[in-house]
């Protein structure tokens, strides 16, 4: 679909890249080279892959933790819910950037630690969203009907509650990914991200800072790619939300 | 006896993604001064759209007034008025009461202010005078402790009280015509009795004409003098309540009367439901819209729509059975099994 188009085009470029990534110095320099003579085209797309990988894994882990946490809180309600929500409120009170920085300092830089750091601060949104949805659904008559038919808790959760939150979750992921990409970019920009010589879109922008005045292109390309990724995911998310509503299916 | 509202051949449609929804397909009726007229119909009958079109509250687009005329007070052509002119009419000449008292009052304004708004705008009353009048009205509609309550917010009132406030707002500028769209549907039955009583009292006191839209035939029998039965955007039957309840001429009216349970009915009487469901107004049938559910349907009913047959000065029905060449029909039991 046209909505997902720009994203897919990038991927194709990635595929082409696989030839290039193993050869750091390269005869073709479509994006120019950076301060150390490395081909920027390769680095940008390679960086994009790394950024996307981080973004998607962070989002998926967010999903796992968030759904479990929010689901349990909402389903059982009462005191369980109260306690779990207080914990969330405490977590929200801590500025995420500081938390991320602390995590990375503790674990050392690298893809793995970035993903973990992002998940630790990011799961809260998903949890709240899932909790809100399930709280609403839990008292709906169709859930009550299943209970009177004799459905046990597992059946209620798996067959009734989750399929009805599914759509919302998927859509939320498509928004979490770009936000995770952006957070990673910020971290790398601050010098806390990917190890050299690996590239990520954020680290590229960081490296580009020195030569900003004369080598503007070094900053421009990664920045534009970051923007396009975020834009594409957001539009995709909007389209997906409409498509997944069974009421609009006919 | 003047005519306060004259609606002729009104046609209103909605342009939607899926196509044109013909909500009102040629509706004609009159309301005399001082009269209470009830419009009865189910969902999809077009009764609410008709009422809202009289007030020009239907957003255009997506609604389109395709044809017909609405003449108010014998010389005001509602369809052709500009928005600004219509603003003057609303609240001042024609008042409206909506169904859901929970959502039709502004939660952030005190009740007194909402009543006074219209007065300040249309009558140009000073704030103080408007406040006094608001107080008067609250007393008129039977709210105890009016002096205190006038300063309160809607959420501090119960459903029945809010509906009274709505009535006060709609009456504030002494309009000539009051349109009430399902005013008691959301209320408990003992509260409904209070509100209907109030409306009858006010009608007598203020001499206003009322159009009341409802699906409850009991409410119609209680408060209205005339009734109009609508189905799928058309008027199937209209007349005084005696004519329509005791001598109905349209199969749909028979069906409605037979399917209503009555408190005073014998325990053995059956409810005879109208089978089937109302048509989809995206694809209205070319013949009579009731043909597929009508136990007396004839061949012609599916092919063409009947014209209205005039049965008396006040009574008319649109049905092929009334055509001189149509066969006689045994109406069987009507009125919940009590033959009349």
């Amino acid at each position: 679909m046209a909505i997902a188009g720009p994203y897919m085009v990038k991927y194709n470029y990635h595929a082409q890249d696989l030839y290039h990534t193993n050869l750091w110095p390269n005869a073709q320099h479509w994006f120019g080279t950076d301060a150390l003579g490395r081909d920027l085209w390769v680095r940008v797309w390679d960086g994009a892959r790394v950024s996307l990988f981080i973004g998607i894994s962070a989002a998926l882990l967010d999903l796992l933790v968030g759904v479990l946490y929010g689901g349990i809180a909402a389903f059982f309600g009462g005191k369980v819910d109260d306690v779990m929500m207080r914990i969330i409120e405490i977590m929200v009170g801590i500025p995420s950037l500081i938390l991320n920085v602390l995590m990375i300092v503790y674990m050392g830089a690298g893809v793995g630690s970035i993903v973990i750091a992002l998940v630790i601060t990011g799961w809260v949104n998903m949890a709240r969203l899932v909790r809100g949805q399930i709280l609403q659904l839990r008292d709906q008559e169709f859930v009550l009907a299943a209970r009177t038919l004799g459905a046990g808790n597992w059946r209620l959760i798996l067959r009734h509650l989750i399929p009805n939150v599914f759509g919302i979750i998927i859509v939320q992921i498509t928004f979490t990914i770009p936000s995770a990409v952006f957070s990673e970019a910020v971290l790398s920009f601050l010098g806390l991200g990917i190890k050299v010589p690996q590239a990520s879109l954020g680290s590229l922008t960081f490296e580009a800072l020195d030569g900003l005045r004369y080598n503007f292109y070094q900053l421009a390309f990664p920045a534009v790619v970051i923007s396009l990724i975020m834009f594409a995911f957001n539009i995709f998310g909007d389209g997906l939300r409409d498509a997944l509503d069974p009421k609009l299916r006919k | 006896m003047g005519i306060i509202l004259d609606v002729k051949d009104l046609e209103v449609s909605f342009q939607t993604h899926a196509g044109e929804v013909q909500a009102v397909r040629g509706v004609t009726f009159r309301v005399n001064k001082g009269e209470a007229v009830a419009i009865v119909g189910e969902s999809g009958s077009g009764k609410s759209v008709t009422a809202q079109t009289i007030m020009r509250l239907v957003p255009t687009p997506p609604a389109v007034i395709k044809g017909g005329s609405i003449v108010f007070d014998q010389n005001v052509d509602i369809v052709s008025l500009s928005d600004k002119q219509m603003e003057h009419i609303r609240g001042f000449e024609i008042g409206m009461i909506f169904q859901d008292p929970m959502t039709s009052l502004n939660p952030t304004m005190t009740v007194g202010r909402q009543i006074a708004e219209g007065l300040i705008k249309h009558h140009g009353l000073s704030k103080q005078k408007a406040k006094d009048r608001a107080l008067e009205l609250l007393n008129l509609i039977g709210i105890p402790n009016a002096a205190e309550r006038v300063k309160q917010y809607p959420h501090q009132f119960s459903g029945g009280m809010r509906q009274r406030v709505m009535i006060a707002i709609s009456l504030a500028c002494s309009p000539k015509l009051l349109i009430a769209d399902e005013p008691t549907t959301a209320l408990d039955v003992t509260i409904q009795a209070q509100i209907l009583d109030l409306m009858k009292e006010l009608q007598v006191k203020l001499g206003a004409s009322i159009i009341i839209i409802t699906h409850d035939l009991g409410v119609v029998a209680d408060i209205a003098q005339k009734v109009i039965v609508m189905y799928a955007g058309k008027v199937f039957e209209r007349g005084t309540i005696r004519e329509v309840f005791y001598n109905p001429q349209h199969p749909y009216t028979w069906g409605l009367l037979r399917s209503m349970p009555r408190l005073d009915a014998d325990e053995d009487t059956d409810l005879i439901p109208i089978e089937g469901t109302p048509p989809n107004m995206l694809y209205p049938p070319s013949g009579c819209a009731f043909a597929d559910r009508c136990p007396n349907a004839m061949e012609i009913c599916v092919k063409a729509q009947p014209e209205e047959t005039t049965l008396s000065d006040t009574h008319g029905a649109s049905c092929w059975l009334l055509h001189p060449k149509a066969p006689q029909v045994d109406r069987g039991l009507i009125l919940g099994g009590v033959p009349r």
């Binding site: 004799g150 | 039955v189 029998a221 399917s259």
Partner: protein, 317 residues
């Protein structure tokens, strides 16, 4: 004396709202239902009729009091007995739009009970579902559709089919027709009556439309703010109402008959329905009762059988 299939004894269901405030939704309700009968439960907002139904079917626990179904306390069943219970008592819900899972096919919605109790599978299951669809006036191709493709009346029929699927003996219908169009209501009520005859069902019919309740019920219980104020056979209640609230309720219902409407006597109650969180002391109806006496503010009236099979709670008796 045959034991009634359902016995409700002084049932109470309270909810905690806010700090230290208790919503006494159901505050002491006692009645019996015989097998094969229909008991109608009527009342206005806040009377607790829906909560009563839901407590009987175990969607809520009872705060106090007992519900005995076939002699067994429904709130004290072990796991196995609970499952057996759900096969015997089912519910039809009010909102045809919220009572069906929007993401499930009609076939699975109806089949859920069958699946939970492992009654049939494969071809037999399919046949059973089709037969249920036909019983409620739908047909086989409806099985493969989603709820949003149906009208309100049709969805309600799906709800009825779902309740019937596991062959219960007792069905609680919680406002099953209030959300439906007027010309559809009679269809659904007639269907319920027919099913009752064919399958010897017992109904608890909860609604606020007294005329419809009278049509379908053998007995009617009138509730106000959490308590039963009167219970009698349908005809008795209409001909000789004892409780002032019942009188007022009957009087408030407009009859679709102009002659009668214009000439009958009205009892118009003053005031609003009080909040169930702070009900009036003594008899809850006293603030609006045209016949209130000083005693009414002090003591709650007792639930008595004033005449054979005619119960009332009022100081006038």
């Amino acid at each position: 004396m045959i034991e009634p299939i359902l016995q409700v004894k002084n049932l109470k269901r309270h909810f905690n709202v806010g700090r230290n405030e208790v919503l006494r939704a159901v505050d002491g309700v006692t009645f019996d239902v015989q097998k094969g009968e229909t008991l109608g439960l009527v009342g206005e907002s806040g009377c607790g009729k829906s909560t009563t139904g839901r407590t009987i079917i175990r969607l809520y626990n009872a705060t106090e009091g007992k519900v005995l179904f076939k002699g067994q306390d429904v709130h004290a069943l072990n796991k196995k007995a609970t499952k057996a219970f759900t096969r015997q008592m089912q519910m039809i819900f009010q909102d045809p739009y919220a009572s069906l899972d929007p993401r499930m096919l009609v076939e699975d919605i109806i089949g859920e009970g069958i699946d939970i109790h492992d009654l049939y599978s494969g071809k037999q299951r399919r046949e059973r579902i089709v037969s249920l669809l036909e019983t409620v006036g739908l047909n086989a191709d409806h099985a493969n559709r989603y709820p949003h493709e149906f009208s309100g009346g049709q969805r309600q029929r799906v709800g009825i089919a779902r309740a019937l699927a596991i062959e219960p003996e007792f069905i609680i219908a919680d406002e099953p027709i209030s959300s439906l169009d007027v010309s559809i209501r009679a269809q659904v009520v007639n269907l319920l009556k027919q099913l009752q005859k064919e399958r010897r069902l017992t109904y608890l019919f909860i609604a606020h439309d007294l005329a419809m309740v009278k049509h379908i019920s053998d007995y009617i219980g009138v509730m106000y703010l959490g308590v039963l104020v009167e219970k009698a056979s349908s005809n008795r209640l209409y001909e000789r109402p004892l409780h002032p609230y019942t009188e007022a309720l009957l009087s408030a219902i407009p009859t679709p008959d102009p002659e009668i409407e214009r000439t009958r006597e009205r009892i118009i109650l003053k005031g609003e329905i009080p909040s169930p969180i702070h009900p009036p002391s003594g008899c809850r109806f006293r603030t609006r009762c045209p016949k209130a006496m000083p005693e009414c503010a002090v003591k709650e009236p007792e639930w008595k059988e004033k005449e054979p099979d005619h119960f009332v709670a009022c100081h006038l008796y």
